[in-house]
Subunit: 236 residues, 2 copies
DNA sequence: CGATCTGTTTGCGATTGCGCAAAGTGACGC
DNA sequence: GCGTCACTTTGCGCAATCGCAAACAGATCG
């Protein structure tokens, strides 16, 4: 847990990010006064499921995985946090604790505020409140999308959708295709789609044989997005 | 579509509801000026999936079911709207259209505002903004709960959870047990839990034989909540 | 540079829950 | 009071996918 004292955050770093856009410069400056920048090395835990929700966060750089463990020990990946996302806003869910555990998938840079600031900041910045609400609303929309998929699609389509979404949100374009730019395991994908490691592995192997993807240890590249999309959404 | 002209809404009807609590009386009065009360008879449609999101709503009285249809025609029930809930707030999801269709399960009374008011109202009422955000946040929490269940639990547990949740949110206590106080079909429950009508029917029949519930046409009463809870969460 | 650890692949049998089919049954309208 | 419609029940075979088991392979570390 790197506590970085009172280090001012350069406003130019954030002023153009969607979340903070249209905020009055003075208000933004005031908000950043209360913020603490923190670095998390790959693998480090930002917060733990069940812990008292003492702070909320914004991801500047890197990737995080947020997952939950059920009572009987099964993991479910609830979301991947991308730069520009708010996370750990338990207050907005009216919860006293974090519902999941957030871990850095790569070295990451976050900004955090004491949770008590949430109310102040939201009530004091109508513009930010709107933006934050949309941030949360998008998350709701995503959750609904996943629910719809889980309810109606077989495993293969769900996995295809999940992989395509990952390449869209976290893809780096290479000559041979689009690579998911952070380490991700078959287990991760299984936890995102409600299936098992084994099934994901089998699917990816089959896809690789058909030339749709190229796999590797914690690596995945989509070499034929069109083909994958056809699996995800068989047109008519 | 009952358009009720400029009928003022009695502020005393809403001032004590959680969503509007702590708002300044003047601001609340102003907000209600813009609102239109509407009644929807059982079975009527409040808004349709894909339609231009022209208004957002608040349920005063009744019950609504919101469901989505997938491209291949399968229904998924996204939520049941209870009195005191906001719904149809597409703007907060940054969507131009309604993601689902809302139908009255019983005669219902709603208040609606033109969607353009959303921004005004949220930006102009910090207190309301917080409350609305929590309303949406709760919905996110619920979606995550369902995702977790869909990912890790077999059908029987999911259905048990769904039924228990319904009795908690919409249960009327009777001598013999807790009745779900609006008409609900096995198909509905199937669409809430990602399974089929047939499987739900089989489960309920089995439960009825064990004395846990009592079924009927569009009816369901839980007669042994403890027993059902044991199915939902087998302790250790 | 070998040992070890973590992540991956693959086979096979066991189940769960689905899909199809067909028969009941309560509610409502005429 | 009867017909119809919507909702429900139940049986049966099949397919998807899980669970277990075992072998394999990059990566990391001393």
């Amino acid at each position: 847990m790197v506590k970085a004292g009172r280090v001012a955050i350069d406003i130019s770093l954030v002023r153009n990010l969607p979340l903070f856009r249209q905020m009055e410069p003075a208000a933004l400056a005031r908000m950043m006064t209360r913020a603490t920048p923190q670095r998390f090395a790959k693998g480090a835990t930002v917060f733990e499921q069940g812990a008292d929700a003492a702070a909320f966060f914004f991801l500047l750089h890197g990737r995080l995985k947020v997952s939950q463990v059920t009572a009987d020990g099964q993991q479910v990946m609830m979301r991947v946090v991308h730069p520009g996302d708010l996370f750990g806003f338990a207050r907005a869910l009216a919860r006293p604790d974090y519902p999941g555990t957030a871990k850095a998938a790569v070295d990451s840079l976050v900004i955090s505020w004491p949770m008590a600031e949430w109310d102040t900041v939201v009530e004091g910045n109508p513009r930010l409140a709107m933006n934050a609400m949309q941030n949360i609303g998008q998350r709701l929309d995503e959750a609904h999308t996943r629910l719809r998929e889980m309810s109606t699609q077989e495993v293969e389509r769900r996995v295809a959708h999940a992989v395509l979404r990952l390449t869209q949100k976290a893809g780096s374009i290479e000559p041979a295709g689009t690579r998911i730019d952070f380490p991700i395991t078959r287990q991760d994908i299984a936890e995102m789609t409600g299936t098992t490691l084994h099934t994901v592995s089998r699917l990816l192997s089959a896809w690789e044989a058909r030339g749709l993807v190229e796999g590797g240890r914690q690596k995945l590249m989509v070499t034929d997005a069109e083909g994958l999309a056809r699996i995800a959404d068989p047109e008519d």
